[in-house]
C-alpha cells in the first residue's frame, strides 16, 4: 500500500540540471514559490494546528470533485484578557463544510454554528492569471472581512495584487534569480488602520535545505531554515524579531514523516513546547494527538481527535 505523505512536505526542487559542471541557463529559471508561501516548509513543520479538547472531522466525498465535511469540536477556548492569566471558556461547535475542487475552480465553504462563514474561492481565469478570494462573514456588524487576490504567473516570476475590506491594498512580486535563489518584495496599504509598509523576502533552496528571510517596514524580521535530513526526517528552526518593539522569539522543531504517522514537535524560546501526532489507523481514519505546554504562562493544552475520510 502506498504510504500517505502529506502534501508540501518536500522542499521545492528545481528543474534538474543534468550535471553540476553545466553552466546555469539564466533564461530558463524555474517559477518561484508564491510570495505568501515563502516560509511554507518552516510553517508546515513548526506550526501544526494545535488544539485543546476533542475534535472530530468527517469528510464524505460524493464524487471526486465534491465533498461535504462535518466537524465537531468541544473544548476550552482562550479569550483574550488584559491580565496575565489565561481565561478559558468551554465551547462546543459544529462546522459544516462543502468543497468543490476542479482543476480550474476551487470553492471551499465552512459554516459554523454561530453563523460565521469562511469562504475561499480560487479560479484560474487563464493559464497564467488566477483569481482568489477569502472571506470571513459574521452576523455581527463590522466584523466581516474579505480579500481578493489577482495572481499572475510569468516564466520565472510571480506577481500578485490584493484588495480587501478596510481599504486594504497590497502587491507583491517574486523573481527567480538563480535556480536556487528567489527574491521578492511587497507593498501594502491598510486604509482603515492607517498603516502602510514595504517588505522584502529572499528564499534559497536546494534539494536538502530551504533558507528564507523576510524583512518588513512594520518592524518584522523573520528568518527560517529547514534541513531535510532524510526522506523521513526534517529539522526546522525559525527566528522572529520585531525591531520596533524589540521582541525576539525563536523556535526549533522536528518533523518526522513515517509510513503510518506524522510527528511534529517544537520548542520555543518563550518557554513553550508542543507536539502534534497524526497516526493513520487505517485507510481514511486518522487519529490526532496535540499537546502544548507553556511553562511561562502555565498553560497546558492537550487535545485528541479523529479524522474520518480523506
Amino acid at each position: 500500500m502506498a504510504g500517505v505523505v502529506p502534501p508540501g512536505t518536500t522542499t521545492q526542487s528545481e528543474a534538474p540540471t543534468p550535471t553540476k559542471e553545466e553552466r546555469v541557463d539564466y533564461m530558463n529559471l524555474p517559477c518561484p514559490i508564491p510570495y505568501e508561501e515563502i516560509h511554507r516548509e518552516a510553517f508546515m513543520s513548526l506550526k501544526p494546528e494545535l488544539f485543546e479538547g476533542m475534535r472530530f472531522d468527517f469528510t464524505k466525498g460524493l464524487n471526486p470533485k465534491f465533498a461535504l465535511s462535518h466537524s465537531v469540536y468541544m473544548g476550552p477556548t482562550t479569550i483574550p484578557s488584559q491580565s496575565s492569566e489565561t481565561i478559558k471558556i468551554p465551547t462546543a461547535q459544529y462546522e459544516f463544510g462543502a468543497n468543490f475542487l476542479d482543476p480550474k475552480l476551487m470553492l471551499v465553504g465552512r459554516l459554523l454554528t454561530d453563523g460565521r462563514l469562511n469562504a475561499r474561492v480560487k479560479c484560474d481565469l487563464t493559464d497564467n492569471l488566477s483569481l482568489k478570494a477569502n472571506a470571513q462573514l459574521t452576523n455581527e456588524p463590522h466584523m466581516s472581512h474579505g480579500i481578493v487576490y489577482f495572481d499572475y504567473k510569468g516564466k520565472d516570476y510571480r506577481t500578485q495584487f490584493q484588495m480587501g475590506t478596510g481599504a486594504l491594498f497590497g502587491a507583491n512580486y517574486i523573481q527567480s534569480v538563480t535556480p536556487h535563489l528567489s527574491l521578492g518584495g511587497e507593498v501594502f496599504w491598510a486604509g482603515q488602520h492607517r498603516k502602510s509598509g514595504v517588505g522584502y523576502a529572499a528564499r534559497y533552496n536546494t534539494d536538502k535545505m530551504v533558507a528564507t528571510g523576510q524583512v518588513a517596514s512594520t518592524g518584522m524580521v523573520a528568518l527560517s531554515y529547514v534541513q531535510k535530513v532524510s526522506e523521513k526526517v526534517s529539522l526546522a528552526s525559525d527566528l522572529m524579531y520585531n525591531y520596533m518593539s524589540r521582541e525576539v522569539s525563536t523556535s526549533i522543531g522536528y518533523d518526522y514523516i513515517l509510513r503510518q504517522c506524522r510527528l511534529r514537535g517544537k520548542i520555543d524560546s518563550n518557554g513553550c513546547t508542543s507536539a502534534f501526532l497524526e497516526e493513520r489507523l487505517s485507510m481514511g481514519l486518522n487519529f490526532i494527538l496535540s499537546a502544548e505546554i507553556d511553562h511561562s504562562k502555565k498553560d497546558y493544552k492537550f487535545g485528541f481527535g479523529l479524522t474520518v475520510g480523506e
Binding site: 460524493l62 464524487n63 470553492l107 465553504g109 481599504a167
Partner: protein, 72 residues
C-alpha cells in the same frame, strides 16, 4: 461592514456640490454602492454554501440526492 476606499476617496474628493436639498451624484453613488455591498454580503453569507452544493451536485458523475443527506 467597512466601506471600500473607493467610496472614501469619492466622499473626500467631491463632497456636497449642490444645495442641501438636492443630493449630488457622488452622494447617490456612495449610498448605492454601500447598499450594494451590504446586499452582496448578505447574499454571500446565505448563498455561498448552497451555491457550492448546487455546483457540486451538477458535476460529473452526478451524485444522488440521498448521498447528500445520509451519513454513509
Amino acid at each position: 461592514m467597512a466601506s471600500k476606499v473607493a467610496l472614501k476617496t469619492k466622499g473626500k474628493a467631491s463632497g456636497k456640490k449642490a444645495s442641501p436639498e438636492e443630493k449630488s451624484m457622488a452622494q447617490n453613488l456612495k449610498e448605492w454602492s454601500t447598499w450594494a455591498v451590504k446586499k452582496a454580503k448578505v447574499i454571500t453569507h446565505y448563498g455561498f454554501i448552497p451555491l457550492v452544493i448546487i455546483i457540486g451536485m451538477n458535476s460529473e458523475p452526478k451524485p444522488h440526492l440521498s448521498q447528500l443527506l445520509s451519513p454513509v
